[in-house]
Amino acid sequence: MLAYMIRRLLYVIPVAFGVSVICFMLVHIAPGDPLTAVMPIDATAEQQAAMRAEYGFDRPLPVQFGIWLGNALQGDLGSSIATGRPVAAEVRRAVGNTLILAFTASLIGFPLGIFFGFVAGTFKDTLIDRAVTALAITGVSVPNYWLGIVLVAVFSVTLGWLPSTGAGPGGSTAWAWDIEHLRFILLPAITLAVVPMGIVTRTVRALVGDILSQDFVSALEAKGLSGTGVLRHVIRNVTPTTLSVVGLQLGYLLGGSILIETVFNWPGTGFLLSNAIFQRDLPLLQGTILVLALFFVFANLLVDLAQPLVDPRIKRG
């Protein structure tokens, strides 16, 4: 098992390298001049050339990649074209905000999903099961960017209960876990949590139903095993797969809130990314994607490392 874990750890290196190659290439598959969007409309050809040199876009590709990777390893992701500010600082701030949102969404989505899944799995093929399944498949099928708009229209504008944009009355720098700020996070977090909730519900329902339908459970029950005993048995068998699905979802919550953050003006990575796309701020696009992808690689790594610990059936080299 130790050998497996070490191999899994080392395997992160080539993947991370591959990820960085793809991120680097993003700027170079882009058509046109990456500096277009930010140059003043009347800029002369000389001014354009000077700016290009300033950003190093005049050098050959492999050289640019070498420099970029070297800097990235030292935590320098270059400068945003639109603002001139270091990308790393922008991304760091945005990742913090995205983490807050993703964390809140996971507090809503995962417990609910697991609970619903258990209920539906236990009462499989009953009315409760059908209701929960319908809820779950709705969650999986709804375009959540649309759901977000609808929630804003209803709860912010029509009813006036909750704020519609931003991360608090004083912006994200003053973030605190108090009522005032939770009011701001509630709508985006619910919107973001809908899909993971649906997926976790479906997974847990299937697993629980599966285990309960197996003969040995009936046998255990017949032998007089108590309800809690059966429950313990079910939990033990459901945990590994649920953990892996939750882990993957966590990674997706981090990176996948792009549209939600745009709808709610939440100052996270998704918001940063959509700004980067509209301003064609490619270094910012590149840096944000790189950091998010590495987060995801890391989340997958944790899940894979944790898997053999919770699942005694898996015995790897």
């Binding site: 591959g18 099928s141 709804v142 649906g198 479906r202 993957l248 979802q249």
Partner: protein
């Protein structure tokens, strides 16, 4: 993200589904398929969804022959008319164009952007996966490790990154979505192929000197296609939501083409004026994706594949 997360599920399932299908592969016969068919027919939800999707597909394909208003011309005087306006059953959009016509024509692009990337990815991914799984060795390593790198990106992130770099446009959306779906399909194809290859009779055919292409065609593809196909269908709704999401962000279809995601975006401001109208394109995406998921669930349970 509905899209991404469903993919996660798809991926997680994909691995399981692949193995399960491979295990039962040799047992497959005509009887099996007719069994699947009759089980599916007895599933009312799946059949309802299939009917709705079929109807939508027909409407979309034969849109030019339907008695519809021109989806491109409108009149400024009749902007944002409510549902049930005479001559405009579903009202008019922000440019006074007929919503019914635009929703049906819009379905063309949205469904196309949902289906084509999956079909492309199905062809490319199956090819790559079968080659990797059958040939093995360094070729397998090369293909599968490259796939791993793409797997390191959450799917929505990868789609937005590529589309964001390439810029808006239908072709760019197709390219980026195809790239997103090739890796998961390749993985399923590879694992199924690898397990089929080790089956005794395939192995025997190989050792007996049959041409590799013949072995692949006769023994491998026959066994491998259906599990991959089932998996690919489950990706269609993801693909559609993702494509509409790209258009919603301004990265997909360009105006004035009708497309549900783009319509959702351009009608956003109308949500305070005519909420029902503004909600229509989103509702179409939702209902279609719901039907696709329900149908895929039905297919899955009819084929006895466990989630």
């Amino acid at each position: 993200m509905s899209d991404t997360s469903t993919t996660t599920l798809g991926r997680a399932e994909g691995r399981v589904a692949g193995h399960a299908a491979a295990e039962q592969a040799p047992a497959r016969s005509k009887g099996y398929w007719s069994g699947v068919g009759s089980r599916l027919l007895r599933d009312p939800v799946a059949m309802l969804c299939a009917a709705l999707l079929g109807l939508l597909l027909l409407a979309v394909i034969f849109a030019p022959y339907l008695p519809l208003a021109d989806p491109f011309t409108g009149s400024m005087i009749s902007r944002l008319k409510p549902l049930g306006t005479p001559g405009h059953l579903l009202g008019t959009d922000e440019l006074g164009r007929d919503m019914l016509a635009r929703l049906i024509y819009g379905g063309r692009l949205t469904l196309m952007l949902g289906l084509l990337p999956v079909i492309f990815a199905f062809v490319i991914g199956t090819g790559l996966g079968v080659v990797a799984g059958y040939v093995g060795g360094w070729l397998n390593t090369a293909i599968m490790r490259t796939v791993d790198v793409f797997f390191a990106f959450p799917s929505i992130l990868l789609a937005i990154a590529i589309s964001g770099a390439l810029g808006a446009g239908i072709v760019n959306s197709l390219v980026s979505l195809t790239i997103v779906f090739v890796p998961p399909i390749t993985r399923v194809a590879e694992s199924v192929t690898a397990s089929v290859r080790s089956l005794e009779y395939v192995d025997a055919a190989r050792i007996s000197g049959a041409h590799p292409l013949t072995v692949v065609r006769v023994h491998v593809l026959g066994n491998v296609m259906s599990p991959i196909f089932v998996y690919a269908t489950s990706l269609t709704s993801v693909s559609m939501i993702l494509a509409a999401g790209l258009s919603f962000l301004g990265l997909g279809v360009k105006p004035p083409e009708p497309e549900w995601g783009l319509m959702l975006n351009t009608l956003r401001t109308a949500i305070y004026i005519n909420p029902v109208l503004a909600a229509l394109p989103g509702a179409m995406i939702f209902l279609t994706s719901l039907c696709l998921n329900l149908l895929s669930d039905g297919l899955r349970s009819a084929m006895n594949i466990k989630d």
